[in-house]
Structures are given as C-alpha cells and as structure tokens.
Amino acid sequence: MKEFEAASYDVIVVGAGHAGCEAALSCARLGQKTLVVTLNMNNIALMPCNPSIGGPAKGHLVREIDALGGEMGCNIDKTAIQVRMLNTAKGPAVHSLRAQADKYAYQNEMTKTLQNQENLTVKQLLVERLVIENHKVLGVVSHTGAIYRAKAVILTTGTYLRGRIIIGEYTEECGPNGQLSAKNLSVDLQKHGLKVVRFKTGTPARVDRRSIDFDRMSRQDGDKENLFFSFLTTEKNGLSEEPCYLTYTNEQTHQIIRDNLHRSPMYSGVIEGTGPRYCPSIEDKIVRFSDKAKHQLFIEPEGLDTNEMYVQGLSSSLPEEIQEQLIHTIAGLEKVDVMRPAYAIEYDCLDPLQLKVSLETKQIDGLFCAGQINGTSGYEEAAAQGLIAGINAARKLSQQEPLILKRYEGYIGVLIDDLVTKGTNEPYRMLTSRAEYRLLLRQDNADLRLTEKGYQIGLISEDRYQQFITKKTAIAREMERLQTTTASSKDETLQNLLTKRSSSPLKQGIPLAELLKRPQITYNDLLSLGLGDNTLPTAVAEQVEIQIKYDGYIQKQLEQVARMAKIENRLLPDEIDYQAVHGLRNEAKQKLNAVKPNSVGQASRISGVSPADISVLLVYLEQKRRQKENIHG
C-alpha cells in the first residue's frame, strides 16, 4: 500500500465507542485539534450488549463523568426510556441510578454531539498501524495508506482488536454484531513492545417482542420521580416509558445445558480468552452454581422503534440449535422468535500494568489507552477512562500535570488505580465493593467532589460553575442554620410527631441538626413542622440531610482515609531499582519494577507484594533518608 501524508492534528482518538466519544469530546473541548476515527460511522456510541446505563457503582461512574464535564450523563438523560434508583432500602452511599436506554436514540444523540463539536473531526477509517519513532507516537496510518499525524494518540479500540465471535462450533473473525475487526493493529502494538492479553465476553440473545408471553412474567416499571444522571438535566426527555420483565430458567433449561456442555466452546477449549466471573454465561452459572434450581432473567427493551428485546442473564456461546431449545423452556419465552443469537467474543487488550496513572503507556510517549483495551468491561468504565485519557492527553500537550483522582475522590480514581496497580486477569467491572471509601463516594455528591476539578481543567462552563457554587453555598448555609437553630421542647406538633414515630420526646431544646440525626426524622418532617426551609432546591435539602444524618459514619470514613493517607503520601521515586532492594522477594521485585508505584500506598495494593515486602521497602526508604541526611548533615 502506498502511504501518503493526509492531515495533521493535535490528538487522534482511535475508536468512537463510549471511551472514544468521551476522549474525543474532552480533547476538543479543551482546545485540541482532534480527530476521532471509527470503523463505521453508523456505530458511534454503539451499545453492543445491554441496553442500559448505570447500576451499582456504574451509576456512580456516570455521575462522576458528568461532574467532571463528560457527556455520558447528558446523553443517557436524553435517551432513557425507564429510570430506577436501585438499593433505596439501603443508605445513600449505595443508592444507584440505572436507566434503560433507547439504544438507537443513544447512538444518534451522541453522534450529533460529536459531529457538531468544534475542534473535532470524525472520520470512518480502519487504523492499520501507529507511527512511532524513538518510543514516541507521531500518528496513525489508515488501511488506505493515509498518514494522519498527531502529538498524542488515544486508543479506544473496544473489542475490535483481533475480535472473534463464537457461537458453538461457528467462529468468525469480526467485531460485535459482525462488524469489521482490526486485525493488524494489535500485531503492530506488540511490535512496539506492548504486552497483549486475550479476554472474552459475551452477550445474550435478542428476541421478538411480539412473540413473548408477558403474562407469564412479572413486570418491572421505572420510578415515578424525575431522576437524572446529569446534574445539568432538569426535565424529562419526553420519550415514552417502557417496562422490563422478570422470568426464570428452570430445571428443564438446566438439563438441556448440562446435556450439551461438550458443545460449549467454553468447555471444549475453542475459547482461550478469560471471561468475567461476575457476568457469567448461563452455562457457567449452571456448572458453578449447580445447586440453584433457577436463575433470573430480565427481558429489557432495546428501544422504542424496535421489537428487539434483550434477555439479560442468558449470555451463552452454545450452538444456535441448543440456544433455541433452551430458550423455549423458559416461562413466557415458549414461543419466542430469536432475532439474534447469543454469542461470545474474544478480543485482544493490553495488560494495564503498562499504563501510568494518567493512562498514558509507560513505553510509548504520547500514547494513551482507555476502555476495553485496558482490560475493563462496561460502557461506564470505558467512558470514565476515555474522559480521563482525553483530559490527560490534552493536558500533556499543554505541559500541564495529569489529572489523577485519588481513591477517596471518586470511583474513577479507584478504577484507574486498580487497573494500573493490580492489573486484571479478567474483564474488570466496577463494583461498589472495590471502593473502600464508599460512603464518601456517593452518587449524590459527585458534583461536590469533582465539579471544582472539572472547572479548573476547563470542562465546566462558567455558567454551570456558578450554579454549582450557589448550590454549595446554600448547603453550607442550611447546615449552619440547622446547627444553630434550636428545636423547642414546647413545640407541641414536634413532640406529637416524635411520639408518633416512637422517638423520645424532647426534654429541652436541641439544635435542629441533632433532631435531624434521629433515624425517625427526615428533612421533609422539618419542612412540615415549619422548621425547614421550603425555598431550598431538593438537591440541596438532600445533601444537608445526608451530611447531617450520617455525619458519624462519614467521620469514620474520613479517619480511614487519614490512616491510609500517611502511606499514600510516602512517595516512591521512579528511579528506584527494586531488583537492588535487598530483602524483597523476587516476585515483589518484579512486580514493583513493572508497576513502578508512585507511593508506598500504591505499592501495598500490588498483588504479589506482601506486607513483609512493604516493611522491607519502608526500612529501605528510611535508610536512604538517613544516608542522605548523613551526607547533607
């Protein structure tokens, strides 16, 4: 192929999935001349798997993306066809928003946003290789030989690197839904010294809405309230709301799977990639949880203008004929028409230990990676990394320090720290249990945690920032008022309410804040008693209530943060050669040299580095320090 110089940009983003969209938009919005390339212009922000955004931890990520000035929150708000707040029986830290998206609307809206973004060019092309000289990325070369130059490149290739689809004995080299796959790029990456691993994921069948017997399933509707992901959204999108349905597998389903396990590529060895444990295929579930009599399945709409329904929980790579047999054993799906069969997909991704915390690769200057290429799974995880990679590529070009979120600042911080510190040997999914400071990282306070940063970076408009400051001030003012205003023991309505709620009546006046701390009393009660401020926006009242009510636990978490902060702040210089640190075990030496952690805290999270290794490291640092002191003193 004759190559030719085509054009030159500041940043090129390879891939326009959820990571690529955020990366491209943030670079362009930060003033970088940006090119985003996609294999297929019709597949921008494609949702090749589930038709939903959010859920535990993932919803938190979307809120954080929004608070930093990313796009995902706004886009799902525009295209949601059902929204629910999950975990409401539990505390506010784990309340999590989930929306069913109209997949096609979601894509359309994002495509519009991309195509109308200033500083951003969108092109349909396949990247064959990168231009790299002296460990520095200089651009990309397309399948048609066009050379596009750039100072930074962000790879957001999803599952398209040497993608291979598997349905039973049938396999096909392609991306999701039979898309083109990028066969040469991962070979090129390996040529430049990057380590590639192979992962596997899968998606369930899509079935025809008209052939489902919904009477045999239980219906699940969304919440009535106005619930939005973005702190900017104030009104519903006007799309009609759609229910989901719940049904179950049964013993007959399980028997069919057991009888045909030998035909499952997972068990016959056709699939080499490692799949995610937390999102197992139905055959995995039957094998691993053989004592369970049934597994639940959610039937979710793919959009308003399609009859396709997504069968959540029935992901499989069994041959199509077996899939047909087993799906027809399920209540409500006895006569269902399968429109697309379930399939597994294998793809290449990079070992994320090769990344810096900024998401730039350690080996190749200017090359950033985000999304599934880093070993994660999920739209939200991808978008979060895309946003950070975009911000950090732009900041690098402007000679600014990278944005690095700490584990106590956001789920995004946890996600990236986990990836670059621990690596992952299966597709990584965000879970609330991965965040040790969960109570501080609530979805309701994402703006309070991150919008200031977003503003300083330049992704939050002056207008939005002023709104944010107003909210922050209102919260502080109301907190102050509740702490300094007294609830009187002579207030009979109050005393009656307390008795009614079996909360002990007041013997003397107490601050309103103390009253609100009682589990039986809400801010709404204060309003009804005339002790609240009814001019406050709901979001402000909510913050005040949470911050006062859960103050004790919030303080406990802050203490945990402080305990860790000491070792987090003990920095490890990049130039330490861990091979030369006497006393470290060999595995620890190798891992530490590979990861090059920034701090003792990060070092302590590396798998293969034991507490004993950390004490050796602490002693080493202390001795270094004393030596230095000795020289200078």
Partner: protein, 459 residues
C-alpha cells in the same frame, strides 16, 4: 543496601557434646568454604546438603576440629539469606577458635537478635513473630518461653488471621448484597450477622483479656513485700529465692533500699520487690526507702503483707491496709513459732474479716508451699497451664484487639438500631483493618517506628 555476613555461636555456652556456629549473609558459603578441609568445593554444593570435613584455622590452615557443614541457600533459610552452619564438638575453646577463624575469614560477629532481624527484613516472619523472638531472648521462665514460642510459630497470627477471615466472610455477604440488588443471591439476615459477629467479638474479647496473664508471663508478676520493719520480709524473699540475697539482720531498718529479684514460682515469673519496712522514721536515708516502697506499692500486681505475732495488727498496719484496699493482697503471719496456740492468728484473722491470713514460719520453713499455691490460685485460677491458650503479652497487640472489639461492638449496636448494610460494613472493615496490624497485614506508617524500636537499624 548490601548486607554483610554475620556469624555467632548459636548453642548455649558451657560444656556440651555438640556446638553450632551459624554464618548468614552473602559470603556465608564462601567463608565456610575457606575453613572447610575436605574434598568438595562447598561453593558448588546444593542447598540443604550436609558435608563432613575438617574445620580449619584460616590463619595457618591447621585443623581445629572436625564437623558437619550444613548449607542452606537463600531464600530457603531461617534468615532468608545464604546460611552455613558448622556443627562441631561442644566446649567453648573449640567454638571460640572456630568463631575466630570465621571472623578472620570476613564475617562480622552478629549482634543479639540480628538473625531474627534479618529474617524479618527478608520477609521470613511477620511482625508478631519477630516480636516473639525478642521475647524468647528475654524469656523469664519456661512457660513464658513457651508462650513466646507459640507466638513465634504464629499461633497468635493464625488466630488473628482466622478472625479476620471470619469478619471478611460477613463483609463479603454485605458487599454482594449491595452490588447485586436485583439478583437472587444468598443474603445474610440481621440475626445471622448478629450471631456471627457476636461470636467473633467474644473471641476478640477473650484474647484481649489474656493480656494480664500474658504480661505477667512476660514481665513477671510485680510482687511487693511490705510490713513493719523486722517482721521477716527479707527472709520471705530469700526463702522464695532459695538463697540469701537481701541482708537479714535483727536490726530494724536494715533494708534501706528496695531489692528486685525474679523468682520462678510454679512457672510464673515473680518479680519480687523487697521494700524497706514502712514506719515513722527520722533517718533520712530510711525515709527515701520508705517513700520508694510506697510508690512500688501503687505499681504492683500483688502485695505480700507480712505480720508477726509480737506486734500483732497495729493502727499503722490498718492504715496501710486501707491504702491497698483495691490490690490483690496476701496476708502472712510470720513467726508462728512464737504463737504456738494460734491465739494471735485468730485475733488478726478476726480483724481482717474475709481477707485470708496465711500462717508462716520461715524459720521452720513452714507455709511456703501454701503461699505459692495461693498466688497461683489468685492469678491463674489454680492453673498455670497455658498450653491450650493463645495469650497476648504485647501492648501493641492488645491495643489492636481492643480497637477491633470496639468496632465490632459498634457494628452490633448499629445493627440493632436498624442501620442499613452499607453503613454497618464500615465498622466491620475497620475491625478487619485494625486486627491486621497485629500480623502486619495492615500496613501503617507507624510500622516503621515499631521496626526501628524492635531492631537497632544502623544508617
């Protein structure tokens, strides 16, 4: 940091049939090879092999002894470094000569505890185990040695690991419940959580409670002997010690200062402090002794209050008894040979009320056995057997356990108050975290101080 090679005689001094010299460090095997007189090249020999040969004096290549050369290569050795041990004949002359030869071959004499320091730094043992080694070195009695050995072998660590694993199991259920609200997964009911964590809390509290025993076993039971001058306090101490240590005369006020001794009493280390007799005096030096006695009194674990029949129970005695009302006290009536009909005994016992009085005649060597039994009864419920138990003897461990117990209690309180799972789990995480401090699995900044206070680490 490049470590040098250290050497020491690791068998106890004195005549014995076998003695061992250990070398540890990068040059251990090289140095061993220099003093090895045999056909093989020790440097080429595999790890964990034994080689017979002559032991040579490096200076003139003459034979000192013959022995076995044991090679253990890093990291599979006690210190985690290359280790060479020379097993030769016992006796200090031979051993000293070999040690000298080894030192002139390039090794340095090991400091006390240096092997364990290296073992710890090389990740061969956790902090609790390393601390136990320090205790072994300073063990007072066989029982306290046994206790330290248990800790060295990781019995306490194993206990803590089990408790942490149990806590983690509950955490895992809660986390799964939070992460999968829509899935039909197995969940723990409040009652189940209550039961499991209560059990863990009981175990943590039981461990916490062993601190007193543990400290007694490690540091000795601080026992103060008090009483009027010349009632036989020093004689009692000497009787317990089995030899004459304190000056015993008939002249009241001979013991001007407090005297400290360790006694192994049925395997309990007793740290006995014989004090100056407490009385009104104009003698300045004696007064200093009396003041000291009073301060020892307040810091003591056990008071032995010695009386004698001639003086009986004076007002002065009764004042002191009032002062030590909250202390474990054993009252002793010495010189019972002067009270043949037990009349005085009866009178004093009446005055003491429920407090038991032991009859003692040190002169006739009577009553000591009963005293020892009474002490054991008082502190160990008659049992000094600690074979079955893990005992906490270290204040750092106690603090972590105590903190852990607090978090677990606050979990239970919150659970009963109906607080939701996502909050509850915070206390469990904290409990899990602080218990990990004992084994060093939770890494803290202060760890460094601990390490530096345990081991003298040079620049």
């Amino acid at each position: 940091m490049t470590e040098d090679t250290i050497a020491a005689i690791i068998t106890a001094p004195g005549a014995s049939s076998v003695g061992i010299i250990r070398l540890s460090g990068p040059d251990a095997i090289d140095i061993g090879a220099k003093i090895y007189g045999g056909k093989k090249d020790l440097r080429q020999m595999a790890s964990h092999t034994i080689h017979y040969g002559r032991v040579l004096d490096i200076a003139d290549q003459t034979m000192i002894d013959e022995g076995l050369f044991v090679i253990m290569r890093a990291p599979k050795s006690f210190t985690g470094e290359d280790v060479l041990e020379i097993q030769c004949h016992g006796g200090s002359v031979v051993l000293q000569k070999i040690l000298k030869s080894v030192l002139s071959g390039g090794a340095r004499l090991a400091e006390a505890g240096e092997y364990s320091k290296r073992a710890f730094l090389n990740g061969k043992m956790d902090l609790a185990q390393a601390e136990a080694i320090m205790d072994i070195v300073g063990a007072k009695t066989e029982k306290s040695l046994d206790m330290s050995l248990k800790q060295r072998c990781g019995t306490l660590s194993a206990n803590i690991r089990q408790l942490r694993a149990d806590i983690l199991a509950v955490i895992a259920y809660i986390q799964a419940d939070i992460d999968y609200p829509d899935d039909d997964i197995e969940r723990l009911s409040a009652a189940e959580m209550q039961e499991q964590i209560s059990q863990i809390l009981t175990q943590v509290e039981n461990l916490t409670d062993t601190i007193k025993k543990g400290q007694i076993m490690r540091d000795g039971l601080k026992t103060v002997i008090i009483g009027k001058p010349n009632v036989g306090k020093s004689s009692l101490m000497n009787a317990l010690l089995g030899h004459e240590r304190a000056i015993v005369t008939d002249i009241a006020g001979t013991t001007r200062d407090a005297i400290e001794e360790y006694v192994n009493l049925k395997d309990i280390p007793l740290k006995i402090i014989d004090t100056a007799g407490i009385r009104q005096t104009n003698d300045k030096i004696e007064q200093i002794g009396i003041d000291k006695a009073k301060s020892f009194l307040s810091a003591s674990d056990l008071v032995l209050f010695v009386l004698e029949p001639m003086a009986g129970l004076t007002t002065e005695d009764e004042q002191i008894i009032a002062q030590i009302a909250d202390k474990p006290v054993i009252y002793l009536l010495n010189k019972t040979d002067l009270d043949p009909d037990g009349k005085t005994y009866g009178q004093i016992q009446k005055k003491l009320g429920a407090k038991p009085l032991l009859a003692l005649s040190l002169k006739q060597n009577q009553g000591l056995e009963q005293l020892e039994t009474a002490i054991v009864e008082m502190f160990f419920g008659g049992e000094t057997a600690i074979e079955q138990e893990v005992i906490v003897n270290n204040i750092r461990h106690w603090e972590a356990l105590h903190e852990g117990a607090n978090y677990l209690s606050s979990f239970l309180a919150a659970l009963n108050a109906g607080v939701s799972n996502d909050f509850l789990v915070i206390d469990l995480q904290s409990a899990w975290e602080v218990l990990g401090k004992i084994t060093g699995e939770t890494i803290e900044e202060d760890l460094l101080d601990q390490i530096f206070s345990k081991f003298c680490l040079g620049k």
